[in-house]
Symmetry: C2
Subunit: 153 residues, 2 copies
């Protein structure tokens, strides 16, 4: 390193951004291990869960609905749903009134996998965050507040 240049580094433990990044990396690696045996990736699971959630209140869920529900962009949804279709976890049909849109539904197989995945992920999360103990609700509040405050612009 050029000797004449001095950097001012904060200690990692004082940098919430750094900590957030590190923690997320660990969490995603753990999620991956849990979902791999179910033939699902993290994103595939999230989109499948979003579809399951939306299906409770609508019988004509479109790709845009899934994108909005999961805060994913529509290109990602398009690509991942194609993969999920190949895996026979979902099916895509023409929309009745809007020929641009596609109606996405869970297959039996997809519903079964989603059930397993929801349970597995919840158990893993429970263990991952267990160190917080009774402080978990407080942690959740922090996270929810931060998410709310930083949405959009």
């Amino acid at each position: 390193m050029p000797k004449e240049i001095e950097f001012i580094f904060k200690s990692p433990d004082d940098s919430p951004g750094y900590l957030l990044g590190q923690l997320t990396m660990l969490w995603q690696r753990k999620q991956k291990k849990v979902l791999d045996p179910l033939n699902l990736t993290q994103t595939q699971f999230v989109l499948l869960a979003a579809l399951g959630w939306l299906s409770k209140v609508s019988d004509a869920v479109t790709q845009i609905d899934i994108a909005n529900q999961s805060n994913t962009d529509r290109m990602m949804v398009s690509k991942v749903l194609r993969t999920l279709e190949e895996k026979k976890f979902i099916s895509r049909q023409e929309h009745q009134t809007d020929t641009r849109a596609k109606v996405i539904t869970l297959t039996h197989e997809g519903a079964k996998i989603l059930q397993k995945a929801l349970t597995a992920v919840e158990n893993t999360d429970s263990e991952f965050f267990s160190v917080l103990g009774e402080r978990l609700p407080s942690f959740n509040q922090y996270m929810a507040k931060l998410t709310e405050q930083n949405k959009d612009h």
Copy 2:
């Protein structure tokens, strides 16, 4: 959705994993906007910062050192450092005593960019987490504890 199957969804606000994922997504999008003008990606910034940090105490930083410091895996470091070399932000030389290893150093240009990036990122983080106010140290403690607890296995 197959009508006979019922899913049990937790409310998103009660799921720390979901919240962590959502928050990280927002944070990464914001980081990207800040780093784009500096011709750096998130990962490139992290590795550059790890290199800067290590350079303070060592004059023979290897790729493995950077990988360990940043908790990134070796392949990632190999690929990203190649890109950073093309951008003239770092240089890679043969190691004196270990011919397998490469010694990584910041170039002048790289050091200047890193300085700018460190400032920009810290300002962005400061704004991103400002809603926490005086609860920030508490939040940092939660994050540090979670990270520590979930390292490795």
